[in-house]
């Protein structure tokens, strides 16, 4: 049994006293290592718990000052120390929705291209390139958005949108001018580019779980490629796609630097998506180090808590859905 190891450890195997001593040492070593790893694993849980506790503790002064109505309060006035979360929460949700509206079709389209159309030798390079898009630091999207993308939108796209939707009753207020370049729409578009790789790579992963026989059977019946995608692949992977989309949404909700650059940081809720707004993370990034007074700081921490709670539920839902897909394929 342990003879070989005993010899390796340089001890005489003849003496049973030594033998039992070595075995004890093994046992102690085993137990120590196990508990070190267990401790590290528990630390991961403690970190998450710590984040929640620290945020709740930090946001208490704000909730004590404004009560639960902090959640839907509209004012954000550092001078009179009146704070409400509605404008940043609204901005967070609107920018994320714009992002998902654009990223979902493009992301899924890219995934279909990668799994169904793309020649095999091109799959890896293109797949990697799309994933590199996710690796670019978000501050780079911010600086690019501010200096390249926003001026482009201001000079071409936004005037076009304003004149196009001007005569249409509801849309005219959604696309009301003037074109600033920066604003909610710009932030949403930048976010769309940022979450696109997440949607694309997870959709690709779940598309690859579709059994080849199912596709072959559909082709055998005479289905076109699009019909196979629409009637076989997408229904089969629906849960996984939704999981991937939610994961992208989680990213979009919490993204900070890129949004901070291009959203304009105005604490107001305007119907027009061309106007400056703000998001939770942009507000924190912009104001935290300048915040004076407990209530101001605490209000920003409270915003962080709201953001964390929202993303927690979105990400949890995403993970549950992706786990269901994984379980089915035995992965």
């Amino acid at each position: 049994m342990a003879d070989l190891a005993l010899q390796n450890s340089g001890l005489s195997s003849s003496a049973s006293v030594d033998r039992s001593r070595v075995l004890t040492r093994f046992k102690v070593g085993d137990a120590t290592f196990k508990y070190i790893t267990l401790g590290s694993a528990v630390t991961v849980l403690v970190i998450l718990g710590g984040v929640i506790v620290a945020l709740i503790e930090g946001s208490m002064p704000a909730f004590q000052a404004f009560g639960i109505s902090f959640l839907w309060g509209q004012s954000w006035n550092p001078v009179t120390e009146k704070f409400g979360a509605l404008a940043p929460v609204y901005g967070t949700i609107v920018t994320s929705l714009i992002a998902m509206l654009i990223a979902i079709p493009i992301g899924i389209g890219t995934a279909i291209f990668l799994t169904e159309i793309c020649p095999p030798w091109l799959r890896r390079p293109i797949g990697t390139a799309i994933e590199l898009l996710a690796g670019i630091p978000s501050i780079i999207y911010g600086i690019w958005g501010l200096f390249v993308f926003a001026p482009f939108l201001q000079s071409t796209v936004q005037p076009f949108l304003i004149s196009l939707f001007g005569p249409i009753p509801v849309l005219s207020s959604v696309f009301a001018g003037p074109p600033y370049g920066i604003g909610t729409l710009t932030a949403g578009l930048i976010l769309a580019i940022m979450v696109l790789p997440f949607v694309a790579s997870i959709s690709r992963d779940v598309f690859e779980t579709v059994p080849a026989v199912l596709k072959e059977a559909a082709y055998g019946l005479g289905c076109t490629r699009w019909e196979v995608v629409r009637n076989v692949i997408i229904p089969y992977t629906r849960v996984g796609i939704i999981g991937g989309v939610m994961l992208g949404l989680g990213r979009a909700l919490g993204e900070t630097m890129a949004v901070t650059f291009v959203i304009g940081n105005a604490h107001r809720i305007s119907a027009s998506i061309l106007q400056p707004g703000t998001t939770i993370s942009a507000t924190i990034a912009n104001e935290f180090t300048e915040a004076v007074g407990d209530v101001y700081t605490s209000s920003l921490v409270a915003l962080g808590l709201i953001l964390f709670v929202i993303t927690f539920f979105v990400l949890a839902a995403a993970r549950l859905m992706l786990m269901r897909i994984e379980k089915r394929t035995g992965g």
Binding site: K34, A41, I143, W144, F147, W226, V301, L307, L315
Partner: protein, 285 residues
Amino acid sequence: MDVAKNPAAYAKRKRASTIAMGLCIAAAAIGLGWLVLILGTLLWEGFGGLSVAVFTENTPPPGSQGGLINAIVGSLIMTFLGTLFGTPLGILAGTYMAEYGRYGKLSMVIRFINDILLSAPSIVIGLFVYEIMVARMGHFSAWAGGVALGIIVVPVVVRTTEDMLNLVPNQLREAASALGLPRHVVIRKIAYRAAKAGMVTGVLLAVARISGETAPLLFTALNNQFWSTDLNGPMASLPSVIFQFALSPYKDWQALAWVGALIITFAVLALSITARTLSSPGKQR
């Protein structure tokens, strides 16, 4: 699907398919186009500003010449600290989940929590470290920045370590155990060695991720205009310098921000490409 009876319907279905597939190709082209656009802009705006001074001089006040050396060194120090804090914890936690509690309840909970931490907004991590370190110690510091980055490293390393250890065939462990090796030696000498490439990939990906992070540094390490290697004080980092300089009204600061952006992006991309080539094909996430 009777083609012979109804050729018009068949042609229509074929056309729909061609259009849909064309749109998918366009979607992929858009994604690739963005990548090219962004990298192209970075080269265009930043390449001209690259000079020796960038790597030898400190960040300048507006209107004068300077470089980014204090920010580059600050970034390196805090990235190192973050990796130092996060990697051992991540590897050990991943080891527990793969080797000891693979099917246990605790591992399932940790896996779930870890996946959430993996995508949690990094600014929230910054707030957390502010609350537990900066507010208590009363000042911003490179230590706090390093801890914040370390917390971001952990979930990435946990995930890859667990995945890679799960791929190690059990026969290897059984063979080693049959030779009489105790379990911790089997794990350290056999399982780790077999999973090494994948685990290194995980660490590299984590380093790539934190070296571009800005949000958690804004109120932990803050920023610093001067040369500083004092871990107890505020420290400059490339991302926060880019943030400050790009949003400033000064043209020369903005130009330096582009140079910084170029440096950081290509460093990060080089790291992630290295990580991907290290991991075995088809098994990367």
